[in-house]
Amino acid sequence: MLLPILRRLSEMLFVMFGISVVVFLIFFATPGADPSARIAGRNATPEVLAQVRHSFGFDQPMPVQYLKVMEKLFVSRDLTSFVNRGERVIPAVVEATPVTLSLVFGAAVIWVVFAIIMGMIAAATRGGIPDRLLMFLGLVGISMPVFWVGSVANLITQSRFHNTWLFHWVPGLGYTPLTQHPFLWFKGLVIPWVTLAILYIGLYGRVLRANLVEAYQEDFIRTARAKGLSESRIMLRHALRTSLITFVSMFGLDFGALVGGGALLTEVVFNLPGVGRLTYLALQSLDLPFIMATVMYSSFFVVVANAVVDIAYAWLDPRVRDAR
């Protein structure tokens, strides 16, 4: 069991290295503009430009530049934003992380629960009206831009129906830390959670239904029936359990991607000061060091999350466990 884990971890390190090179190349080696001008932002003085050129080693060969950037990102962690007058980038990202985690965790709980319910109902009534209706709704969920759903949700809960009994409890946009006021934290996040979850409920519900329907074609379901098990037990312990393997591997990837920046649009629409919103603000002010840092940290998080998922996957499926 140890060797495959080590192999997966070395693979992970390789991918991290690859990503860091790709990011470096995108930000510093693409044709178009002087990289120091990109780092320093708009309207930078010649002195600042010279300082940047020196501290990032832009007068030196590429590999040195790469190492200098990586050192600033991961070792000294003193990358500074020029647009925001010397604000340290890394601490700002660390500070924003709990917000993003709160958002993604809650949404994940909702989407997993509802997707499983949806997939099971659809699979149990396959071909019937509930199945078709749920699959249609799922496809609608997949087809809606999440930021637009968020805007419509805001329109309903903050403005048009805010003064009805249905939504008067919804607090204004923004984020309250869990440690400060747990109930307000919860109330403020319900709508963002649901908004973010809609897409994934549709996606996961549809995938789970397909997997369940496929599982029901398997011989072992017939065996389970021949054993005299109840339909609910067959569904839960045999069909669902085997279908969950794909579900879990998908979940890990999507969860990682969301924490690592995919929740950006939701954070922007609901004004939640998470990592994604930081990236968004940096985008608006063309603050490249900031974007580079969030991109790098977030992608590393995603890569690590993927590796963890692969290891969990092996644990879930004994066949994979032995094949490695």
Binding site: E218, D219, F220, R222, T223, A224, R225, A226, K227, G228, L229, S230, R233, R237, H238, R241, T242, I245, L316, D317, P318, R319, D322
Partner: protein
């Protein structure tokens, strides 16, 4: 144990009468099984043989009421210990499955849920029908695996299906099927996916069941060799109907249906000169949609005659019955001779 040692008066365990299975489809009703009737007596092994598509597996699934397709139409009666299975509620049927009638399948690799250990799966069946603690169920599962000849049963119980060899998997499957002492075991091609040596061991195990467990066995197979080894009685199916049935020695020794004859001639002889090429029955079985009127075997039959345009009933000939117009008088000797010659030439 030769068949003649089993008393014919043994009580009837399963009595299937006029079983018809058909499916509604876009192109009309497809008839899969047509008026299939047979009985299984206590502690006997009934073999059902036929090519794929002959309806033998459908017969076993119908007995277990495992045909879940909502478009299936099932008529007739399946009487088990005096109760018509087709009239039971789903709940009563579920209670019967696994406890009274158990089933094993062709490929134990795909027939067992891949993510649970062998022991877990046997326990699950035990606890579905008996009030047992997990601990007691595990003990019984290990015991059963031991009885089925699985070496180191306690260790095998902790293994996943893919970690065992095909033979051990099938033994585990049989252990699971027998865990609640069923009176009837339906074995659907239990040896097809196995090596020849393992096949023999599994067949021997099946034969022991009637003495050790008092179970009857309904053995579904396409392999005449398997039929010859284990069965007491044989039922040959072709294209959804019964072609021939009767005690094994009669059917195999003196077949009265040309199809049985063809099947027997396609087995390599044990002794004597080897044929240059094994004879085979020309053509292939008709699809359920394209069944000819009258006898379904007639397009492939060497003895086709005018009478075949109407469907022959089952003609009784001593203990033996066959649905062939020739069987009325018993297949003449020249038929045997010609069958050997022509099937040889056709090959």
């Amino acid at each position: 144990m030769p068949a003649d040692q089993i008393p014919n008066t043994a009580e009837t365990l399963l009595d299937v009468q006029d079983l018809c299975v058909s499916f509604r489809s876009e192109r009309g009703i497809i008839r899969i099984l047509e008026n299939v009737s047979f009985t299984v007596r206590a502690r006997e092994i009934l073999s059902i043989v036929g090519e794929s598509g002959s309806g033998k597996s459908m017969t076993s699934l119908a007995v277990m009421r495992l045909i879940t397709d909502p478009n299936a139409i099932i008529t007739g009666s399946i009487t088990y210990k005096g109760r018509d299975l087709l009239k039971l509620s789903p709940r009563e049927m579920r209670d019967l499955r696994g406890r009274e009638i158990a089933m094993i399948f062709q490929d134990p690799m795909t027939a067992m849920t891949p993510v649970y250990t062998i022991g877990w799966q046997i326990e699950e069946q035990l606890r579905a029908h008996q009030d047992l603690s997990r601990h007691a169920a595990r003990a019984r599962a290990v015991e059963l695996l031991g009885e089925m000849g699985v070496p180191a049963p306690a260790k095998a119980a902790t293994r996943y299906p893919h970690q065992l060899s095909g033979g051990l998997r099938q033994r585990a499957m049989i252990a699971m099927a027998l865990s609640c002492n069923p009176s009837l075991l339906i074995a659907d091609e239990p040896t097809t996916a196995l090596d020849v040596t393992v096949q023999a061991q599994i067949l021997e195990l099946l034969q022991r069941l009637r003495t050790d467990f008092g179970s009857s066995v309904m053995l579904i197979t396409h392999d005449m060799g398997v039929v010859a080894t284990v069965s007491d009685r044989v039922m040959v199916m072709y294209s959804g109907i019964i072609a021939e049935r009767g005690p094994k020695p009669d059917v195999l020794g003196q077949p009265t249906h040309p199809y049985t004859l063809g099947l027997l001639h396609s087995i390599p002889p044990m002794h004597g000169e080897k044929p240059h090429r094994l004879p085979s029955i020309p053509g292939s079985p008709p699809s359920p949609m394209g069944r000819p009127p009258g006898c379904p075997f007639q397009p492939r039959c060497e003895f086709r005659m005018d009478a075949c345009a109407t469907r022959p009933p089952l003609f009784r000939n001593g203990m033996q019955e066959a649905s062939c117009w020739l069987a009325d008088k018993g297949l003449p000797d020249w038929a045997h001779e010609r069958a050997i010659r022509t099937t040889g030439e056709a090959a």
